[in-house]
Amino acid sequence: MHLIVVGLSHKTAPVEIRERLAVPESRLGEALTRLCSYPGVKEGILLSTCNRVEVYSVVEDVDTGYGRIQEFLADTHLSLSSEQLTPHLYWHTGDRAIAHLFRVASSLDSMIIGESQILGQLKDAFEVALAHKTTGVIMNKVVKKAISVAKRVRTETKIAEMAVSVSYAAVELAKKIFSNLHEKTVLLVGAGEMAKLAAKHLIANGVGHVRITTRTPQHAVDLAERFGGTAVPFDQFKDDMASADIVLVSTGAAHYLVGAEDVHRAVQERMNRPMFLIDISVPRNIDPAVRHVDNAFLFDIDDLKHRVEQNRAGRVHEAEKAERMVIEEVTMILDWMKSLEVTPTIVALRNRVEDIKRAEVEKVLGRLGHLSAQDRELVEGLASSIVNKLIHRTMVTLKNEVNSSSGPAFVEAARQFYALDQPAASTQQTETYSESSRYLTDSRPQSEADEPTPEPSVPKRAR
């Protein structure tokens, strides 16, 4: 049972390939069902966004799995052949596949590091897979872990805190002038796309009133309706400026629409309450001399871009911290995955019952000192045959289900029923048992059985 990922992203494939490979939401379920119908593919999730198309899957054999999924990807679009895809694909397995998923979820692999959309997209992809029952024990656990890793990265680093779009940088700056954007008024002069976006962000951050003016009066009225604001006649907007805390200018005018004198007057009318002016237009529409007006803070498109650049650099710095977290989390989940292997589980189970048997037999024989050697053997034989019969079916089922899709579920169940991830409490009659001694009890008989050493159980999973 191996976890693999096959896919392509903005780093490896141009948009022409990505857009053809992308699976629309409506067809996601059908695609997943098809994926899991390939022989040897046990579990699958399809993550399809505008920047990446990736298939995460649990397969029986790594190499065949790679082939099957590549086949599956090529089949999603008629005009794509497997050969066309190959140069853009990446393949990972085991810890690298998990690390890749964690990095993607934490937005470390995104075009804009730290953007938050990808986590939502991963959650949606997971929902669809759950709805179509194409995930099992391994996938569920790994994806849930990826989501929690992403949340941890978000809260423990500042990766998502800093604005990395020009429109959002405007909001960030506004918050350094006004501690509370509620009850603040924004005046939108002209309606460039970026200005509209900035206005949207400002409204989302609490700005209470929107006033809009454009050269075409009807356009302003339409926009006012859309933003829930008021339209202002274009020839009067300068007189209206004093009522605005934030002025967003983006028109196609080739000259300065707002001069330093206008701003000076507005600030005076506002009794020196600070004013935040953003000029997103090129050529600029606000006279740069406004910089010299006290209590007026003017930022043009370059200032905003400069801020964005700084924040990007900051995010890269934070990303280093996040990478370390990912590595940490990958080791933890690998421990869990190793515990799902059948052979170590069987060995652990046998050791567990053997320990219980020995302890009980010693206890009883201690009290029955008068027994002959033959009788002692009989008692021991009785105990052995009871425990062996008790676990016989479990052993057989585990062995039979090694390669079935529900194999990991049986292993997980066995580990829980017999508390294999917990210290051997029953033999000691105490709950406390140190990590190292547990490791010893677990590993001692392994060397006899010549089995691969099972990992000490993951402490986190012990309940």
Binding site: L173, K175, K176, I177, F178, S179, N180, Q268, R270, M271, N272, R273, P274, R291, D294, N295, F297, F299, D303, H306, R307, Q310, G314, H317
Partner: protein, 267 residues
């Protein structure tokens, strides 16, 4: 014992200042809670010092100038802790704690001077306490003003550095500035009135125009104008910040006046 507590408090404040400053100049948020905890422990020792001084001194003895300064810095730290608790603006510590330290060191360095006024009833206590509370208001306004001017400068010159990201919004600082003066001014007014009454009771004249009284009146007039200007003709934001910085200079001169008067009375 009081002296030991005093030294511990002072040392902790110095450590807290270093910690606060490195918090303000580094990108990491790590030191904020450490700095705050150190300040809080220092504050506890400081409180013990003050209580010991108060219970130790005989009730009829007049408050000494160094006690007044110590009380002043105690109030500064108290205000810092309150504002921190409500608004979580850690950068404030880098400005307020050093102010408290300067005042504490002056308190320690000052000779025990004889007061010029013989205490009659408790009016002198009222005078000192009220004046100091008013001064605390102006000190906070001063700190808010300095922070405002720094943030204003950073925004105007578009220097989005670490300090920029840690300083609070301009209108918050302006509001803090206003609140501090609105609270400080009536307290200073009462302080001056009780001071005049004390002088009347001790010397038979309300005003003698010594340096202390002259500067007190100048300070009072100054803040009166600042407050009036803010409420009527919009002296807020940058202008208010400048004015409160200048106003605090007047306050310092008044305090120096108190000292000079004490010394001239001795000689």
């Amino acid at each position: 014992m009081a002296a030991v507590c005093f030294m511990i408090a002072l040392s902790l404040y110095i450590v807290a200042t270093v910690s606060f400053l490195s918090y303000s100049l580094r990108r990491s948020e790590a030191l904020s809670n450490v700095s705050l905890s150190i300040t809080a422990v220092g504050f506890a020792f400081h409180t013990i010092t003050l209580i010991m001084r108060m219970t130790g001194a005989s009730s009829s003895a007049p408050p000494s100038f160094s006690d007044a300064l110590s009380f002043f810095s105690w109030m500064i730290i108290l205000v810092l802790l309150i504002v921190e608790f409500r608004h979580r603006i850690h950068v404030l510590g880098s400005f307020m704690v050093p102010l408290a330290i300067v005042s504490l060191i002056s308190a320690a360095a000052l000779p025990e001077s004889e007061p010029t006024l013989q205490p009659v009833f408790k009016t002198l206590w009222f005078h000192v306490t009220l004046s100091m509370l008013g001064t605390v208001g102006f000190a906070v306004a001063f700190v808010a003003g300095v922070m405002y001017l720094i943030q204003d400068r950073l925004l105007k010159s578009k220097q989005f550095n670490v300090l920029y990201s840690k300083l609070p919004a301009l209108d918050f600082l302006d509001h803090l500035n206003q609140q501090s003066i609105v609270l400080g001014f009536p307290l200073l007014t009462l302080g001056i009135v009780t001071g005049a009454i004390s002088a009347e009771l001790a010397r038979g004249s309300y005003v003698s125009w010594n340096p202390e009284q002259t500067w007190a009146v100048v300070t009072w007039l100054f803040y009166f104008v600042v407050l009036l200007g803010r409420l009527t003709i919009g002296w807020r934001a940058k202008r208010a910040a400048y004015l409160t910085v200048v106003g605090f200079a007047c306050v310092i001169l008044t305090l120096v006046g108190v000292l000079l008067k004490g010394h001239s009375a001795l000689s």
